[in-house]
Symmetry: D2
Subunit: 158 residues, 4 copies
Amino acid sequence: MRDIGEHRPQDPRYRERVRDEFSRQKAMAYIGASLAIVEPGFVEIHLPYRDDLTQQHEVVHGGVVSMIVDSACGFAALSLFPADASVLTTEYKINLLAPAREGKVIARAWVVKSGRTLTICSGQAYIASGAGEQLIAVALETVMQLRGRPEPPQQPAA
Amino acid sequence: MRDIGEHRPQDPRYRERVRDEFSRQKAMAYIGASLAIVEPGFVEIHLPYRDDLTQQHEVVHGGVVSMIVDSACGFAALSLFPADASVLTTEYKINLLAPAREGKVIARAWVVKSGRTLTICSGQAYIASGAGEQLIAVALETVMQLRGRPEPPQQPAA
Amino acid sequence: MRDIGEHRPQDPRYRERVRDEFSRQKAMAYIGASLAIVEPGFVEIHLPYRDDLTQQHEVVHGGVVSMIVDSACGFAALSLFPADASVLTTEYKINLLAPAREGKVIARAWVVKSGRTLTICSGQAYIASGAGEQLIAVALETVMQLRGRPEPPQQPAA
Amino acid sequence: MRDIGEHRPQDPRYRERVRDEFSRQKAMAYIGASLAIVEPGFVEIHLPYRDDLTQQHEVVHGGVVSMIVDSACGFAALSLFPADASVLTTEYKINLLAPAREGKVIARAWVVKSGRTLTICSGQAYIASGAGEQLIAVALETVMQLRGRPEPPQQPAA
C-alpha cells in the first residue's frame, strides 16, 4: 500500500519543510512523538509507549493513536504541496482494531489522491514490540491545501 | 440535541462509575482535561487551551480535540451500561470545522442509540471564550460494550 | 437539530434550483425517491419501501438508505450556495442503526457549517410506518462548492 | 492491498454461500450489479455504467458507488464467517475521488481484521474503461457477525 515513487513532490525541499513543520507541532513533542520517515506522499511517525498516555485499561488512549495518524496524514499530504501552501485537516475516520499495551506505536500515512484543493490520505497504526508489528488502527483522512499561505518559518530559538 | 432524560441508566451508580473511570484515564490528566457533566447518556469534558497542545499554526491539535470528543462519547455510552460491563471505542469520524486558538475546549457527547453490543454516540466540540461558544468539531462514534468485564476498581493511592 | 431559520440563502431562487437539480438526478427517480421539503440549509427526501431495493434480509439495502441521505446532504448544502455554484459530495460516514422493513424511508439533512469551499452536513434517516418514526441511520457528510460552474439547466423534454 | 491467501475460511462452502446471498440482494439486481470474484476475505462486484443511475452531472450517483462498495465489504466479511452466522453492516465511511462517466464500476473489498463480533473491511471503487482503471472511491467499513442466525436459504423459484 506504500506506493512510494508514484508521487512527485512539487517542492524540492519537501523533506526539510515537513521536518520544520513537525518540529513546530508542540503537541507532538508533548506526547513524545518523533518523525521517522518522510518520502514523497508518505510519512512515518513513532511514539514510544508511555504510561501517562494511557486510558483506564492501561493501553495507549485511542485518541493519542489518532493524533499521530492524523499528523502523519497531514504531513504526507504536505510533502506533495507547492512551497507556498499550508495544510489543514478537515476530517478523518479511524477504526481502532487492537490495543497498544507496550512497545512503540508506529503511524504510517500515504497519499491516496492529491488534488488541487483536497488530498485524501490513508493511515495505519502498528504496535511494534519484540513480537514484531501488529496492525492496531486504520484511517481515512481528508486534508485541505491552503494556497498562498506558506507555513510560517520556525522561530529562532533566541 | 442533548436529549437528557430520554435514557435510563441500568446502573444507579452510573455517575460515580463514569467519574472513577475518567480519573483513571491518565491521558486525560496529562493533557489537562476534566470531567464537567455526567448525565444518563450525556457527558461533557473541558480542556483549557494550552500552548503545549498546539500544532504548527498555534491552535489546539485536531488530534487533541478528537481525544476529548472520543472520551466524551465513550463515557456517555458507559453511563448507560450495566454495572458489569466495560467500554471500548471501535471507531469514530470527526469533522474539524474551526480552530481553537484560546479559551476552553468543550467536548459534548450523547448517546444516539444504545444497543446490547454497540452504542452509537454523537459528539461535538466547542471553543468557549469571551465571545461565547463556537462549534469547532462534529463526530460520530461507535462504542462496544464488553459484558462481564467490569472496569477494574481504581487502585488505592497507597 | 433542525436549525431552520439560522441560515440565509444567497440565491433567492434556492428552492426552485434545488428542485430542478433533484429532478435531474435520474438515480433518485429510478429508486422512487421524491423531494419533500426544501428550506435554507435543510432538505427532506422520501422513499417508499420497495421490494426491489432490499438486501437478503428483506430490508431496504443500507446503500439505498445512504443514497438518499447523501442526496439530502448535498441539496441542503446547495440551498445555501450562490447561484453560480454547483455541488459535489467529497465524503460521508453513515451509521446504520436499525432495518427498514416497511413504510417510508425519510432522509433529513441540515447544514452544520457552510464554508466558502466546504460545507459540512448532518444527515439522518427514519422509517415511518403506522407506529410512528424510528431513527434508522445517522451520517456526517462533506460537500464541496464548485464556483463558477452553475448546474446545467434542465433539458427540455423534447 | 489484496492479501488473498492470508485469510482462512471457516466454512468450506464460503464461495457458494456468498453467491447465494448476493443473488438474494434484490437491490443488486435492480441496479445491474454482478458478483465477479469471491476469495477468502475478498470480493469484487461489477456495475456497468447506466444512464438511470446517474446524478445531475451525468455521472454515476455516489450513493450507487457506495452501494456496491458496501455490498462488497459485507460479502468479503461473510466469506470468513462460520456457516451459522449472518452479516450486518454497522457503519462505513467513503471518500469519492473522481466521477464515473462511462465504462464499468468495479468495487473491491477485503477484510482488514476479522474479529468474533466485528470485522473491518477496506473497500475501493474503480472505473474501468478503454483507458484502463482509475480509482474513484476508498472506504472503511465495520461489519457485524450475527451468530446462530444463518442466512435464510434461497427461496425456490416455484
